[in-house]
């Protein structure tokens, strides 16, 4: 089995998009490109979320995971969602392999329990050793401002978890809306995520939340990265559709 790179887009937001392309469509597009889109909705205590449906749908069509959390639990959640999403992607891949061995519409559950252990071992092994690229897309609209220090903590926590793995990691950091543009790049691809507090924009235009364009930009960023490395890129794992 060829070891590839897992590509994720991690969207951290607190509400509904209101500008540009439909984010659910953009998430579907990202998935076609072999990325998964995971969404974390950050709430204030006592806050109810109107964007719930959208958050769920973005993750669903992006082949990823979504989770709503209060700001306080953000750290634990970000690393957990990222790792779960990795596992899910790898499982989808293994699932396909299994089907080619066992025949169609066979699930892992169709294996006797004693045989499942080996499948889990392979999933664990890949989750630990595969390279990972995460493009982090942060909603910095006015309502998110006071949550940004928590987001920052959560991202540092994420990097602690990912760097404890054996595989390599790369991160890129984007914010939306940007100061002048809809989406702004805060950090280009880098293996180390640190000093992020210095780069979060201090002030942003209130009112707009261009989630769709942000996702589109994320796809472009991945495309550029890939073409930069040449056409003979290492294989990536595609999410299976079931």
């Amino acid at each position: 089995m060829k070891k590839g790179t897992l590509r994720q887009i991690l969207l951290i937001t607190d509400g509904c998009s209101n500008q540009g392309e439909d984010p659910v469509a953009m998430a579907a597009l990202a998935r076609e490109h072999g990325m998964t889109v995971n969404v974390i909705g950050v709430l204030d205590e006592n806050e109810r979320t109107e964007g719930l449906k959208e958050i769920e749908n973005i993750a669903l069509s992006g082949g990823g995971i979504h989770q709503l959390v209060y700001a306080k639990q953000l750290s634990h959640t970000v690393q957990m969602v990222t790792r779960k999403a990795m596992t899910q992607t790898i499982q989808g891949f293994i699932h396909k392999e299994l089907q080619s061995i066992l025949g169609h519409d066979k699930e892992i559950e169709d294996l006797p329990p004693d045989k499942r252990g080996q499948v889990v071992e392979v999933v664990d092994e890949l989750g630990e050793t595969m390279d990972l690229e995460v493009l982090i897309m942060i909603d910095t609209s006015a309502s998110m401002q006071h949550k940004l220090p928590t987001v920052e903590d959560a991202l540092l926590d994420l990097s602690i978890s990912l760097h404890s793995r054996i595989g390599e990691n790369e991160y890129a950091l984007y914010a939306f809306p940007g100061k002048r543009k809809q989406v702004e790049r805060l950090m280009d691809w880098t293996p180390i995520l640190k000093d992020i507090h210095t780069i979060f924009p201090k002030l942003t235009t209130g009112g707009i939340t261009p989630t769709g364009p942000a996702l589109k930009e994320a796809i472009d960023a991945y495309q550029k990265k890939r073409s930069k490395r040449g056409l003979l890129d290492d294989g990536y794992i595609e999410e299976s559709s079931s």
Binding site: I65, S75, Q88, E109, P113, V120, E128, S161, S164
Partner: protein, 324 residues
């Protein structure tokens, strides 16, 4: 929480018979023991006697725990975690629920026990825990999600047992399941690579938790200083400071090192305590052992102190399984 929303297992009522699809064993549900992110654990009756049954929804994570339990059950001579019996699927109204069966640990939560029996038990139970961790590490595993919820005190003599091997990780890999308060990564005092010092940090935080039952959050910065202050301002924790400090800062490479130092500290302390209050002895053992003595002619207090200290020493050795 996943995109493909998983159906939760509804509580399984008392008296329900669970039968395994593959192995055809049956289990009678007696009561719910607890639940967590990955499933619910029930006490059940079976031909094996009373067992604990963990029923989940995600067969991958159930299988993953079983992988660990199987490995631990193979370790000869020591009991590391609940003994594993079998894994199977339960079909209930058309849906399949993976479950596994393990030894039922009839114990009391760590802090409930300590509150009932006295704070002096903390040191003793930690000695036991460190001995088990030492064996676990020797086998190439790190416990990972070590916390009071995952520790039970069982039987007589009281023995600490651990449950929930969901966080147990092969040495050198990354710990995936942890609880913030007990995780050195959260405190900015280390990474999440599975190595002995990861668990030893958690052991120290369990002791801190005994001093601060409500726990506390991390500070904005300088967690090290903050934790040291917490230790110093607690009557209970102060005496353990040198050991807690080293564990929190990752200075112990092995559980056995920490165990030895804790052992030495407890010995010193016990002898001192005895010297100061021979008469108001509150230790059950000491009381029992000195009573017959009192009937005799007055024995010199030095002898009494020595005897009590001696017995206590052996009792401690016994409790932590050093001898017998």
């Amino acid at each position: 929480m996943t995109g493909t929303s998983k159906n939760q297992v509804a509580d399984v009522p008392r008296g329900t018979t669970i039968s395994g699809k593959w192995n055809k064993q049956t289990y009678q549900i007696m009561k719910k023991l607890g639940s967590g992110a990955l499933g619910t654990v029930y006490l059940a009756d079976s031909v094996k006697g009373r067992v604990a049954l963990k029923i989940g929804t995600d067969s991958m994570s159930i299988t993953s725990e079983v992988n660990v339990l199987k490995q631990l059950s193979m370790v000869q001579g020591t009991v590391l975690g609940p003994f594993f019996y079998e894994i199977d699927d339960w079909e209930r109204s058309g849906k399949k629920f993976p479950f596994y069966v393990m030894e039922y640990i009839d114990g009391e939560p760590l802090f409930t026990f300590i509150n009932r029996r006295g704070k002096e038990w903390i040191g003793i139970l930690m000695l036991q825990l460190l001995r088990d961790l030492s064996a676990l590490h020797r086998e190439g595993w790190v416990f990972g999600d070590l916390k009071p919820d995952n520790l039970l005190v069982e039987g007589s003599p009281p023995t600490v047992r651990w449950l929930d091997v969901g966080g147990t990780t092969p040495m050198g890999r990354s710990v995936k399941e942890f609880t913030e308060f007990f995780d050195r990564g959260y405190w900015g005092l280390g990474n999440r690579v599975a190595e002995p010092s990861y668990d030893l940090f958690s052991v120290a935080m369990i002791v801190l938790n005994a001093g601060y039952p409500k726990r506390f959050d991390r500070p904005k910065k300088d967690a090290e200083h903050y934790l040291m202050n917490k230790i110093e301002s607690s009557q209970l924790l102060k005496e353990y400071k040198p050991i807690l400090r080293k564990a929190l800062l990752g200075k112990y490479g092995y559980a056995s090192e920490m165990r030895q130092e804790l052992f030495a500290l407890l010995q010193g302390e016990k002898t001192n305590v005895r010297k100061n209050k021979v008469n108001s002895s509150h230790s059950r053992v000491a009381a029992r052992q000195t009573r017959p003595k009192a009937k005799k002619k007055r024995t010199g207090w030095v002898e009494t102190v020595l005897l009590v200290a001696f017995l206590l020493f052996f009792y401690t050795l016994y409790l932590v399984g050093h001898i017998f």
